[in-house]
C-alpha cells in the first residue's frame, strides 16, 4: 500500500518539479481573508464563474452538432431536441444556464455595490466587472440569434432597426451587424463567430484578470458603519485586520462558495429537466408572418421601453441612455472611491439600486405580457358575449358585427376578451357621448387610427349605436316577467319577498 502512495507522490513530484504550480496554487487557495468575509453574501462571484464553466462545456458539446448557417441552423436545433440522445437536455442546460448566469451576475453586482466593495483599491476590479456584465449580455443576445427561429429572425430585424437609427453611419452599422444588406447566411455565421470565439475569448480573459485582482487586493471586508475608506490608510488597516482575525479562504470561506455553486447547478439541472430546452419556435421563414416576435427574458424590459416611450424620445433615448448608463457605472468607483461602505450610511445608493431593480422588474413583467400589442386574432377569435347582445335593437346588433369585422376587437376588449392596446369598451358610453364616439371612430386620435375611409355612414351609425349601449357593469334587473309569461313559464319565486310577507 505504502508502495503505491510513494509512487503517486513521486509522480506528483515529477510534475511539480517541472510545472512549479503547487506552491502558488496552495498560496492562492489559503490566502487569508477577513473572518467576516467568509459569508454567504460573498458566494455569487464564484457561482457565476462556475456557471461560465458549465456554459463553455455545454456550448462545446452543442457545437459538435449545431450547424451555423441560416439554411440548417433551425433543423440542427430540432435534431438536437428530438433526434439525438439527451440533446434536448444539453440545450436545456445551456439555455437555463444562460438565464441563471445573468441573474447571478446581476445579484453579484448588486451585492458588490451595496457592500461598497468597488471602493479603493478595488476600482479596476469593478470596472472590469462592468465589462463582464456587458459581455454576458452580449453572449445572451448572440445566443438568442443562434437559436435561429422566428423570434431570432425578427429579433435581428429589431437589432438592425436600432442600428439604423444611429445618425450618419446607421446604414453602415446595419450592414456590419447583418454581414450584408439582408438577414441571411452571413448573419448567422458572424453571430456564431461572436458567440463562440470573440466574446467568450474576451470573457475568459477578463474573468482571469478579475479573479487575479481579487486575489491580489484581498476580498472586501464586511463593511461597518463609520469605518471610512481612505486611500492613505486603507491598505494598512486591511492588512492589520487580516493579521488580527484573518482566516484561510480554503476551507473557511470556500465551503460556502462550493455549497452555493452546487445548489445553483442543481437548480439549473432542475429547470432543464422540468421546463426543458428553450425553443426553437417556428422556422426562420420570413414569409410566415403570423408571429408576434419577442426577445428573451433579459431583454424584455428594453422591448417594453420601446413600446412605452413617447415616439419622439425613442431614438435619442435608445442611443444615448445606454452609453450614459455604462459611463456612469464605469465612473462610479472613480467618483466614489473613498468614504463610507456600509449601506445604512449610503441611503441614496440603496434607493438607486431599488429604483433600478424595481423598474427593470416592472418593465420585464410588462414586456412579458405586452398589453400594448394588438391581439391580431381578437376580431375572429373572441366572440361578442351574449350579454352585450341581449335586449339590443337590430341596428345595435348590426353594430356589434361591424365592431368585430373592423378588427376593433384587436385593440379593445369587451368583457375582458380582446386586445388591450386601447381602453376596454365595457363602459365607453359612460365616458363619451354619441357625437364624441362618431368623431373618435371617424377621425381617430393618439393611438387610434381614423376609420373615416373604411366605414360607410350606415356602418358608422350602427357601430356607434352599439357602443352607446356600453354602459359598464349594471346589476341585472328583476326577472323579465313578461317574457317568461309569454313563453308560458311561471316566474321563479323571489324568496326574499316571501319572507317579507
Amino acid at each position: 500500500m505504502s508502495g503505491i502512495k510513494d509512487k503517486a507522490y513521486n509522480l506528483y513530484r515529477w510534475f511539480d518539479r517541472r510545472l512549479g504550480l503547487a506552491k502558488p496554487i496552495t498560496e492562492a487557495a489559503e490566502h487569508p481573508i477577513p473572518a467576516s468575509s467568509a459569508s454567504w453574501w460573498y458566494v455569487f462571484g464564484s457561482a457565476a464563474t462556475v456557471i461560465l464553466v458549465l456554459q463553455v462545456m455545454t456550448g462545446i458539446l452543442l457545437a459538435l452538432v449545431y450547424t451555423p448557417t441560416a439554411r440548417d441552423a433551425w433543423n440542427s436545433l430540432n435534431f438536437l431536441n428530438h433526434g439525438l440522445t439527451l440533446g434536448w437536455f444539453l440545450r436545456a442546460m445551456h439555455g437555463w444556464g444562460s438565464d441563471f448566469m445573468i441573474a447571478i451576475v446581476l445579484i453579484h453586482m448588486s451585492q458588490v455595490f451595496m457592500f461598497g466593495a468597488y471602493k479603493y483599491p478595488r476600482e479596476l476590479t469593478w470596472i472590469i466587472g462592468v465589462f463582464l456584465l456587458l459581455m454576458t449580455l452580449g453572449m445572451a443576445f448572440t445566443g438568442q440569434v443562434l437559436r435561429f427561429d422566428q423570434d431570432a429572425y425578427w429579433g435581428l430585424g429589431i437589432g438592425a432597426s436600432i442600428m439604423g437609427r444611429v445618425p450618419i453611419i446607421g446604414g453602415w452599422l446595419v450592414h456590419l451587424v447583418l454581414g450584408g444588406p439582408d438577414i441571411g447566411a452571413t448573419t448567422v455565421s458572424r453571430f456564431f463567430a461572436l458567440h463562440v470565439f470573440v466574446i467568450p475569448g474576451i470573457l475568459i480573459g477578463l474573468v482571469g484578470l478579475h479573479v487575479w485582482m481579487v486575489l491580489r487586493l484581498g476580498i472586501n471586508e464586511w463593511p461597518m458603519p463609520g469605518r471610512l475608506v481612505r486611500k492613505s490608510t486603507y491598505v494598512r488597516e486591511y492588512e492589520a485586520q487580516i493579521h488580527k482575525d484573518g482566516v484561510p479562504f480554503v476551507p473557511d470561506a470556500a465551503w460556502k462558495d462550493a455549497t452555493f455553486a452546487a445548489a445553483i447547478m442543481l437548480a439549473i439541472i432542475a429547470c432543464a429537466l422540468i421546463f426543458g430546452p428553450i425553443g426553437p419556435t417556428g422556422p426562420p421563414d420570413p414569409t410566415i408572418i403570423q408571429t408576434a416576435p419577442k426577445p428573451d427574458v433579459p431583454f424584455l424590459w428594453i422591448f417594453a421601453l420601446f413600446a412605452l416611450l413617447p415616439p419622439k424620445l425613442e431614438t435619442p433615448l435608445i442611443l444615448i441612455a445606454p452609453v450614459v448608463a455604462i459611463l456612469v457605472m464605469l465612473a462610479l468607483p472613480l467618483y466614489a472611491g473613498e468614504g463610507e461602505k456600509h449601506w445604512s450610511r449610503r441611503p441614496i445608493a440603496v434607493l438607486m439600486l431599488m429604483v433600478v431593480a424595481v423598474s427593470i422588474g416592472i418593465f420585464t413583467r410588462l414586456g412579458a405580457t405586452a398589453p400594448w400589442s394588438p391581439d391580431m386574432n381578437g376580431w375572429s377569435a373572441d366572440p361578442v358575449q351574449p350579454q352585450y347582445l341581449k335586449g339590443r335593437t337590430p341596428l345595435e346588433r348590426q353594430g356589434a358585427l361591424v365592431f368585430q369585422n373592423m378588427q376593433c376587437r384587436n385593440c379593445h376588449a369587451l368583457g375582458g376578451l380582446g386586445g388591450q392596446r386601447g381602453p376596454d369598451l365595457d363602459g365607453v358610453a359612460t365616458r363619451m357621448t354619441e357625437s364624441q364616439l362618431i368623431r373618435q371612430v371617424l377621425q381617430g386620435s393618439g393611438n387610434m387610427p381614423a376609420y373615416g375611409n373604411s366605414l360607410s355612414p350606415s356602418q358608422t351609425t350602427a357601430l356607434v349605436k352599439f357602443l352607446s349601449t356600453m354602459k359598464g357593469y349594471q346589476p341585472q334587473a328583476q326577472n323579465d316577467a313578461n317574457r317568461l309569461l309569454a313563453h308560458g313559464v311561471s316566474p321563479p319565486r323571489d324568496k326574499s319577498q316571501d319572507t317579507a310577507k
Partner: protein
C-alpha cells in the same frame, strides 16, 4: 522630470547610457513588427468591413414578385420574392414577403413587410383597410401612411415596374430608417434619399 516609462521598462532598457547594439536591434525589431502589423491591418479591416462598403451600384436588383393576375385591382395581397443578394446557404431566409397594393389596375404600391418602428412584420386587414404591427402596435392606412402608434414614418415602399405580366420590384436590403432610401432610388447614394 522623471520619465514615467522608467518604472515599467525592463532593467536593461532603463539606462540610456548603456546603449548597446542589441538594444538598438530590439527597438528596430519592434518597429518592424509594428509596420508588419499595420500592413496586415489593411486586409483584415477590409475583410471585416467588407459588408459595409460593398458596392451596390450597377447591379441588377430587379426581382419578380408575382404575376399581375395575383393582384386584383383595389386589393392588397401578400406576395413573395427572392432576395437578389441571396446565397444557397440562406435557406428559407432567402424568400421574403411584401404587401402589393393594386390601386386601380394600373398603379401599384409595394410595401416592405417591415414596420418602420422596429422592423416587425405588419399584417394587412382588408376589412378595416389597415396594416397592424404585432410588436408595439404601429398602424398604417392602406396607402402606407402612419395611422397610429409609434412608427416614425410610413411603410417602406419598393420601386416597381411591370415587365410583361410580371410585377418586378427593386429589392435586396433590409429596410431600416437609415437604409430605406436605397429602396426607392436604385444606384444612388443613400445620402440622396
Amino acid at each position: 522630470m522623471e520619465n514615467p516609462l522608467e518604472k515599467v521598462l525592463p532593467e536593461a532598457l532603463k539606462q540610456p547610457s548603456q546603449h548597446t547594439r542589441r538594444k538598438f536591434l530590439f527597438k528596430v525589431a519592434l518597429l518592424v513588427n509594428g509596420a508588419v502589423g499595420a500592413v496586415l491591418a489593411v486586409p483584415v479591416l477590409g475583410y471585416v468591413l467588407g459588408p459595409v462598403f460593398r458596392k451596390q451600384n450597377g447591379e441588377n436588383f430587379w426581382v419578380p414578385t408575382g404575376n399581375l393576375q395575383q393582384f386584383p385591382p383595389g386589393q392588397t395581397r401578400l406576395a413573395q420574392f427572392r432576395d437578389p443578394n441571396g446565397t444557397p446557404a440562406d435557406g428559407q431566409t432567402r424568400n421574403l414577403p411584401c404587401w402589393v397594393r393594386n390601386i386601380d389596375g394600373k398603379r401599384f404600391q409595394v410595401f416592405a413587410i417591415n414596420c418602420a418602428h422596429m422592423d416587425c412584420p405588419v399584417h394587412w386587414f382588408p376589412q378595416s383597410k389597415l396594416f397592424l404591427c404585432p410588436c408595439h402596435g404601429g398602424v398604417y392606412y392602406q396607402d402606407g401612411s402612419v395611422a397610429a402608434g409609434p412608427p416614425p414614418r410610413g411603410l417602406y415602399e419598393y420601386r416597381y415596374k411591370i415587365v410583361g405580366d410580371q410585377l418586378m420590384i427593386w429589392a435586396g436590403e433590409l429596410p431600416t430608417l437609415s437604409t430605406a432610401a436605397r429602396l426607392r432610388r436604385p444606384g444612388n447614394s443613400p445620402c440622396l434619399g
